[in-house]
Amino acid sequence: MSRTPNKLLVEGHDDLFSVVGLMRQYVNWPKDKDDAPVFIQVGYGADNILKKEFISTSIKESNTKTLGVMLDADLDANSRFTSFRNLCLDYFPAMPKQLPANGLILDNADGKRIGLWIMPDNISKGAIELFLKFLVPDTGVPSWQHAIKSVAEAKGKGATYRDCHVDKANLYSWLAWQDEPGQNPGHALTRKVLDAKAPSAAPFVKWFLELYSLQPSINLQS
């Protein structure tokens, strides 16, 4: 049973690992789930999370004071936001009509706070893999170029990935060649194969820390 009043809803397990792998480079994140600064719940897809009752019951949970939601934009960040907004209006009547470029953080009169980040950057289409792509360190760029090229070539040899998922194919192909092969993005961040301190991570990190009122730690336990 989680003791924290902070909750984050994410679409899938890889999202969960990615957030933990990233944020533990900024705040203490103990191994025991019950002690985590934010309880991360997997919602199994945006369609499920955006079902009317998921958001409303999560907001009404009495021991949750701050509810954050992280979704992939997929084809249209704006329509994701509109769906989300409609579900929240009853509880957060002051919700803006546009998603702020740096992510949403909003308090209501009942002392509840809600947050939203639409991957990669609240504006573009795409998903978390596009966000993670910008965390490839400079040293990884040549092999990254190779990954993109290989993925494109594989299409010609019968690979079945859909074009809308090319960012995911690129990322996981690149990860397959790193030390250790096949690790999920969360591990890659923890092992510094992906650079959690890259400048493009900063807006998301800032949103997260502010949403949950967390202070960045200087001395982090690894």
Partner: protein
């Protein structure tokens, strides 16, 4: 069916309302949030201002005025705790309202100084010095303006309810009346009295079905004739199990069986009325909760009984999801409401939300 209730000034509530109620209504909330008080308010409402229902609530809570003379004839019931702030003065008042169809029906309970006409109505012996105040019960549901004398200690003598001591354990049993089950459940004598009206009727099958959830080998149940036992807390029934020649007393079967029996008997006697159950999960293992809800839900539909229950148990809340649909059928709606101290409205959950919370392990309590 009660669609909404409003409570003003009763016990810990200054103002409180609960709306969009349904056929089965579960209340959750922290300790001392007022869940039991809400059940009591509904009890008073459905009793239409019958003073006897006040007596029963106070007796259940043990709110007697301690007596300096221990062998004194009748205990007095301390009613100040019914009033928000425990404040008893002329003008102290609480109101309960229920919306059934459209018009709101209200019952007011107010402390006043009795007029001389009032004194004629009060049928208790005693000078005006002994009873300086009265409790007025009036409202749209109350058949006639009711007056109850109040002593200088703020107590209501039991004799004011015309209840001699020996009748205190009398079975209160009218069909269509509200049944209120608490953690102690009904006592054996009351349960037997109700069972007598169920035995050999179609409802007997309902009761058997209920206890068979806990023990499928039960073939029959019967009550002892009244000479066989004294007023024990568990007793008075014997069970015949398949494969065992001699019947065994129900007391051998544990708390859960007693609870299930009490629930089944109570709902059978609540036709067209209301069933109130405090801490409905008491004595019941999580594995039987889903069956319990199904049993109660079906009985509620069959017998036209509106159910209000409270719980602390997450298993109880999650298994409620099993009888939830999409909330479109208002007549058979299932609701969950969380009561939070200090909030004037309950936090409601629709049937879809109850199911979602159970599925996704989101906390509703």
């Amino acid at each position: 069916m009660i669609h909404s209730i409003e409570i003003d000034g009763y016990r810990g509530f200054d103002r409180f309302e609960m709306n969009d109620l349904g056929l089965v209504n579960l209340l959750v909330g922290g300790n001392n949030s007022g869940k039991t008080s809400v059940l009591e308010a509904i009890y008073l409402l459905t009793s239409k201002g019958d003073p006897m229902s006040i007596w029963q609530l106070l007796w259940r809570r043990g709110e007697h005025i301690p007596d300096e003379r221990p062998r004194e004839v009748q205990p007095e019931f301390d009613i100040c705790h019914l009033f928000n702030g425990h404040d008893l003065q002329i003008g102290s008042k609480f109101s309960l309202s229920a919306k059934n169809q459209s018009p709101k029906r209200t019952i007011d309970f107010e402390i006043a100084e009795p007029t001389s006409k009032d004194r004629e109505k009060i049928r208790v012996d005693g000078s005006s010095a002994r009873f300086p105040l009265v409790l007025h019960i009036k409202g749209t549901q109350v058949p006639a303006d009711t007056l109850i004398p109040i002593s200088s200690k703020g107590g209501i003598p039991a004799e004011a309810f015309e209840m001699p001591r020996r009748m205190r354990n009398r079975i209160i049993d009218d069909a269509g009346r509200t049944q209120f089950i608490t953690t102690e459940s009904l006592n054996a004598r009351a349960l037997i009295g109700m069972w007598d009206k169920i035995a050999l009727t179609p409802n007997e099958e309902l009761v058997l079905k209920a206890i068979r959830f806990l023990d499928p080998s039960i073939e029959r149940i019967a009550s002892h004739s009244s000479g066989d036992f004294f007023n024990t807390s568990r007793g008075g029934f014997k069970i015949k199990q398949k494969g065992r020649e001699l019947p065994i007393p129900i007391g051998s079967m544990g708390d859960g069986m007693w609870r299930m029996l009490a629930l089944a008997i109570a709902i059978s006697r609540s036709k067209d009325g209301v069933l109130l159950v405090d801490e409905i999960d008491t004595g019941l293992h999580y594995s039987v909760m889903a069956e319990m809800w199904k049993l109660l839900y079906n009985a509620a539909i069959q017998l036209n009984v509106q159910i209000f229950a409270t719980t602390h148990s997450s298993d109880c809340v999650n298994s409620l999801a099993k009888i939830c649909n999409d909330g479109q059928d208002i007549q058979h709606r299932v609701t969950l409401n969380r009561i939070e101290t200090g909030k004037k409205k309950s936090i409601p959950y629709t049937e879809g939300e109850i199911r979602m919370a159970a599925e996704q392990k989101i906390e509703v309590r």
